[in-house]
């Protein structure tokens, strides 16, 4: 089953064709990051306009790269939430219209669920030949994530720990009470003038530290005992206070426009931010350590309590290598496998939309043409008490 997936929830326009929810036949993205970097974040109306300009060329390229025509497709899917309403409207309208024009089944996809299903995607060129259901069976392929799963969904807008006993069932264990993890990365990166998006910027800055040198900083952790909830706003405040309070810890980006791809920090080096033995790299590393510590500790505890065999990471923060390494190290002794999508499929992409769509479409699920965008959409949480 070959599905065209369209993703337009924020500032990237993506289209991908995926076979059987796993094999990526094409994957195309038009990014607006260089446009929004100027503003330190996404301007919704600018994003919506860019979505409309990019969407047809992106879909056309996805078809070309896969070497497929309309007759080769079995369905069309598009994100319908959560995200920016104006951006979502473009991809959803295009998805519904393409399906109507070509008489194909249509399904709207929850962007958060799709991040989880990115774990079903095979690395490109993984050597899966003849990805047809008839040959392999629809239910499960060797190498698929194995239920029951524990998912840590961490992105710019979400931080949730979710138990997934089977396809389509989501039991919320805990979530952030204030900032999402990715949001905290963005905000701290802005305080440290490291650029946007914050996740990769903080990770790069932290990596510039000499690992042999002990970090003079240790930042607080919000443990919220007895819960699987998170809180990151206090941590962000701690970083701000250190920056404002420590004389001479320079905000590298003050007064300057940040050029695409390089932050002032990178251009001027750690020296510009040095004062009293604390560098911006120290701050970035201490912040990252704190976030990773809390996320990993709670995830490991949940994995033990629920007795899951696998943990999956989902969302943009899943690309953080420090988090991956820590979880790998902590879960391995428990005999729990950590899985995460290829780095390119952690952040927003259309392949994950097509992957999630497959697991719905193959059950005969469809959406009508009257499906509207849902900017505040959440995972369809089921109560744990009624878990079967």
């Amino acid at each position: 089953m070959r599905i065209l997936g369209i993703e337009s929830s924020c500032d990237e326009t993506g289209a991908a064709i995926v076979a059987d929810g796993r094999v990526i036949l094409s994957d195309v993205v038009a990014s607006q990051a260089s446009i929004h970097e100027r503003y330190g974040g996404v301007v919704p109306e600018v994003a919506s306009r860019q979505q409309l300009s990019a969407v047809i060329p992106v879909v056309e390229t996805a078809l070309e790269q896969a070497g497929l025509g309309w007759g080769d497709l079995d369905g069309v899917a598009a994100t319908y939430g959560p995200g920016l309403a104006g951006s979502l409207l473009v991809g959803l309208t295009v998805g519904k219209t393409l399906a109507l024009a070509r008489g194909l089944p249509f399904i709207g996809i929850n962007h958060l669920e799709a991040h989880i299903y990115a774990n079903w995607l095979r690395p490109v060129g993984a050597g899966v030949s003849g990805p047809e259901e008839a040959a392999t069976g629809a239910a499960g392929w060797p190498g698929d994530p194995a239920f029951p799963l524990l998912a840590l969904v961490i992105s710019g807008a979400h931080s949730e720990l979710v138990h997934i006993p089977r396809h389509g069932r989501y039991e919320l264990l805990g979530q952030t009470r204030d900032d999402a993890a990715g949001e905290a990365f963005d905000k701290v990166a802005r305080v440290l003038a490291l650029g946007y998006p914050g996740g990769p910027a903080i990770q790069r800055a932290a990596a510039t530290r000499d690992p042999a040198r002990k970090n003079p900083l240790h930042l607080p952790r919000a443990w919220l005992p007895g819960t699987y909830d998170f809180s990151f706003s206090g941590l962000k405040t701690a970083v701000s206070q250190i920056v404002e309070g420590a004389e001479g810890v320079e905000r590298a980006g003050d007064g300057g426009e940040i050029a695409p791809g390089t932050s002032r920090y990178e251009r001027e080096g750690a020296a510009a931010a040095r004062a009293g033995g604390v560098t911006a790299a120290d701050l970035a590393a201490a912040f990252q350590d704190s976030v990773v510590d809390v996320l990993a500790t709670k995830t490991v505890r949940a994995a033990k309590e629920l007795g899951v065999r696998q943990v999956v990471l989902a969302g943009g923060v899943a690309a953080n290598t420090a988090l991956r390494a820590r979880l790998d190290a902590d879960l391995d002794p428990l005999g729990v496998a950590l899985r995460y999508p290829p780095i390119a499929y952690c952040t927003d992409n259309a392949a994950m939309i097509a992957a999630a769509a497959y697991f719905h479409l193959r059950l005969g699920e469809r959406h009508g043409y009257d499906l509207d965008v849902r900017p505040g959409l959440q995972l369809p949480f089921a109560s744990r008490a009624t878990a079967t």
């Binding site: 503003y39 409309l52 300009s53 047809i56 024009a101 509207d372 505040g376």
Partner: protein, 265 residues
């Protein structure tokens, strides 16, 4: 078989035209449900006439100005149809469509839509039109207050002006007061019809002109709202709010895009 789509404002219209005859047209109050209602109605409309999408051989779309999201829905749908079916596409400014509806009158015609912030989108035309081919305004598509528009019309035109389109009572009153007897108003709500859009598109397509689906852009007339200092007012708050559904960023015209800045025109 030409399909014409217009969701430029809270009023929407879809029409199927064959051999110059309107087979079916649907005009309705769509509110802000542009995407949900356009595609569902289009599906119904085709089924009503027993027409498969594959029988369409041309797509026309009203390309704005109007509600940003509204305009984008029809343009996104029209681009997708033209691309998926491999048929010609023709985009037409929404003000042209409005004015075409009264193009039989002799003298100046002014097409209006509310733009929010006490301003209107406007363009003036010279009637009567000999044909739909080349129907275009005599000046630029502009965004102005009713007072500015009235002042311009008073200096440029001494004949009575026929206003058509959609406007709030305050706008009509301001124009009537400034222009007196020279202002004449078409009934509001008879705003525009997709079959008028089809007239313009058929004339243009007959001349061999068309728009590429990958290249057609809406006519926004207003720039996106961006504060001058991103550092002082981080935009991420806006993004996050929208993601949580707190501040759905679809404040639509009229009155929408509240703080947007107009292009100096």
């Amino acid at each position: 078989m030409l399909l014409a789509l217009d969701t430029s404002t809270s009023f929407a219209s879809v029409a199927l035209v064959h051999d110059g005859r309107t087979l079916i047209e649907l005009d309705w109050e769509v509110g802000r449900n542009h995407s949900a209602e356009l595609l569902a109605r289009l599906d119904w409309l085709l089924a009503q006439r027993g027409i498969t999408p594959a029988r369409l051989d041309g797509i026309a779309v009203a390309s704005g100005p109007g509600s940003f999201n509204g305009v984008r829905v029809a343009v996104a749908a029209a681009k997708s149809l033209a691309f998926a079916l491999g048929v010609p596409l023709s985009g037409h400014p929404t003000l042209d469509v409005i004015a075409w509806g009264v193009s039989h009158v002799r003298g100046p015609i002014c097409a209006l839509l509310e733009a929010g912030r006490g301003q209107v989108y406007a363009a003036t035309y010279a009637g009567p039109a000999p044909s739909a081919a080349g129907w275009a305004p005599t000046g630029a598509y502009a965004i102005r207050t009713p007072a500015e528009l009235a002042a311009l019309l008073r200096t440029a035109i001494c004949e009575p002006v026929v206003f058509c389109g959609e406007w709030r009572p305050e706008t009509g009153a301001a124009l009537a007061e400034a222009l007196g007897e020279t202002a004449r108003f078409s009934p509001v709500g008879g705003g525009r019809r997709a079959s008028w859009l089809a007239d313009l598109a058929l004339a243009r397509l007959a001349r061999g002109e068309r728009d590429a689906p990958e290249a057609l852009e809406p006519l926004y007339l207003r720039r996106p709202h961006i504060t001058s200092s991103a550092k002082a007012a981080p935009r991420l708050a806006e993004r996050d709010g929208a993601r949580e559904g707190v501040a759905r960023p679809t404040p639509e015209a009229p009155g929408g895009e509240g703080a947007a800045r107009a292009i100096p025109s």
